[in-house]
């Protein structure tokens, strides 16, 4: 659905986006992840035909952004970081205006406006001036604007920025409900957001593509070794945590055992495996056979946060000059 090849965008003195390529399949939700100033907004602006690329190609639904911008624009809905709303318009008036601008036929306009009002839950404020709306409502009006013409592709620039936790959850579920019919790219620098809403991640840092993969694969790829948290309880009488630690270290495949906490009879350990070894069955057996209680045994997930730090840190080490070049 979206095809980006060797995209580069250079401003007067800086390279905002440096030779990135990726592909997005139809119906996917893709998280566009990167620290502030990584080039997310620039990439999105190229995809929405707001600005042309310096080099490289980008196409949406098979139409090139440079050669057939009108066809691309018909097929995208775009929510910029700041919702593009007019304070002096009422919500319904604004949506009608955008609807006409997006080329919705007169006969369908009313129906479409009603549909997005329903979908984005802005019915309560439909006749209010947008300047009087709270940030959350404004964001929703912005989202209604983006989906009013039922575009194939939705491009959302930090759709949850500046919202309160409840609004963030609502916005996320709204975005999720839009998947399927629409291909969605959403940019963010909040990692859990990607973990929760997206199937696919594109990570960029300082204008360069760092990784692109599914959320699941990316987590796995970086987690070569397994980490397990174990809680052991002595069955009768006190058990020294050092004794347990020694026993656990003997389990095959274990590379490191860390005593995390001891509360009376309960001892919590964090255990790392050697590369590519499954250690949980052996760990469980070892604890039980030694006559202790196994209260808990769970894998410790590597969060996207860590992946992100690993990826972007190594990138910085490799190119100390960063994305800003003369």
């Amino acid at each position: 659905m979206i095809n980006v090849e060797g995209l580069t965008k250079r401003y007067a003195r800086t390279i905002a986006v440096d030779n990135i390529s990726f592909e997005v399949q139809k119906g996917q939700i893709v998280g566009f992840l990167g620290p502030n100033g990584a080039g997310k907004t620039t990439t999105m602006r190229v995809l929405t035909c707001f600005m042309p690329p310096t080099a490289g190609k980008a196409s949406v639904a098979g139409f090139d952004v440079l050669e057939q911008p009108m066809e691309v624009k018909k097929r995208i809905g775009y929510l910029p970081e700041l919702p593009p709303v007019y304070g002096d318009m009422e919500v319904i008036e604004y949506l009608r205006f955008v609807g006409r601008l997006k080329g919705i036929p007169k006969a369908d306009l009313k129906r479409r406006v009603d549909e997005v009002i329903e979908r984005c839950a802005v019915g309560e404020v439909r006749t209010r001036l947008i300047s009087k709306l709270s940030k959350g409502y404004r964001q929703r009006v912005g989202l209604s604007q983006a989906i009013i013409h039922n575009p194939d592709v939705l491009i959302l620039d930090e759709p949850t920025a500046g919202l309160d936790p409840k609004q963030i959850i609502e916005t996320r579920s709204l975005i999720k409900s839009l998947a399927g019919d629409h291909t969605i790219i959403l940019s963010t620098h909040i990692l859990p957001e990607v973990e929760q809403t997206c199937e696919q991640v594109i990570i960029i840092s300082r204008g360069k593509l760092v990784a692109t993969d599914s959320v699941h694969n990316l987590t796995n790829r970086l987690r070569g070794s397994e980490a397990v948290a174990v809680e052991v309880e002595g069955r009768d009488g006190a058990v020294n945590s050092a004794v347990i630690l020694q026993r656990l270290e003997k389990v095959p495949g274990v590379s490191r055992v860390l005593a995390k906490e001891s509360r009376g009879q309960r001892h919590i350990f964090e255990i790392e495996s050697l590369q590519g070894r499954a250690i949980r069955p052996d760990l469980a057996r070892a604890v039980v056979e030694s006559g202790w209680n196994l209260n808990e045994l769970r894998p410790v997930a590597v969060s996207l946060e860590e992946i992100f730090l690993q990826l972007t840190a190594s990138d910085e080490a490799a190119t100390p000059a960063g994305g800003v070049k003369q």
Binding site: Y11, T48, Y78, P80, Y86
Partner: protein, 255 residues
């Protein structure tokens, strides 16, 4: 075409939803009302004096009231126009709504035309309100209406020119105050250019004087449509809108 209408309607609504429209109308009506009063009073006084001196020559309302009125309106317009155009694009840029317009399936030209036409209608509305003054002349006198219409046509053409230039300046900044001030400066410059002709008769002075928007208005005020002046205004409008579209395009490259 449909898109131009959409943009036009939105702009008109936004003019009349804010106090700007009413403020400008009141301001313009007040000033032109004062001029109207001054010229009419002068006209009447002269008429009485001439009768008393026994030299009762026929006096022309068009020449003594309408023509100076139109000339003054064309100059006062220079002050009003920056306030109409300053927000056209600067505000969209500040609000970020320019991103909505630029990513909608709408051509730049359609946006520019819609906005310029709305500004022109706004300006015409301001002129029309001030036209009530001259309507009073028809109640008590018998002025010739054709030169008046020609004069109004001239005002609209002159307004269109300056509005196109103002629209261009508005695309270059996101600050309305800067846009307004710069437009005002250019308007003044285009007005005083014709003073250059009084300082010299060289061809350079003539060229400079030719560019003055007010010089080209004078024949209209007299009720004369000269194709030279019409072409001047139309080409200036075209030039202004052309600059606007270039500037909008360059926003995309520079952003």
């Amino acid at each position: 075409m449909r898109n131009t209408v959409t943009i036009f309607q939105k702009e008109i609504k936004s003019y009349f939803a804010s106090p700007i429209a009413y403020g400008l109308m009141a301001f313009f009506a007040l000033i032109s009302g004062y001029f109207f009063f001054a010229f009419t009073a002068n006209f009447v006084e002269r008429g009485i004096r001439m009768q008393m001196m026994g030299r009762g020559m026929p006096m022309d309302v068009n020449e003594w009231v309408i023509r100076p009125m139109l000339m003054n309106m064309s100059v006062v317009g220079l002050f009003v126009i920056p306030m109409i155009t300053m927000r056209l694009f600067a505000e969209e840029k500040r609000l970020g709504t320019i991103e909505l317009l630029a990513t909608s399936p709408v051509r730049d030209l359609e946006i520019i035309l819609g906005k310029w036409l709305a500004a022109l209608v706004m300006y015409s509305a301001i002129l029309a309100l001030a036209g009530i003054n001259t309507a009073l002349l028809f109640l008590y006198g018998n002025p010739d209406w054709k030169p008046l219409l020609v004069g109004y046509l001239g005002l609209v053409l002159q307004g269109g020119t300056l509005l196109a230039i103002g629209a261009f300046i508005s695309t270059t900044t996101r600050n309305q105050i800067i846009a307004g001030t710069a437009t005002f400066a250019i308007c003044l410059l285009l007005w005083v250019l014709d003073w250059a002709s009084s300082y010299g008769t060289t061809s350079a002075a003539k060229v400079i004087a030719y560019l003055s928007v007010v010089t080209h208005f004078e024949p209209f005020a007299k009720g004369v449509i000269d194709s030279k002046d019409v072409i001047f205004y139309l080409s200036m409008i075209f030039f202004g809108l052309f600059l606007t579209s270039r500037s909008m395009e360059s926003l995309r490259w520079r952003a």
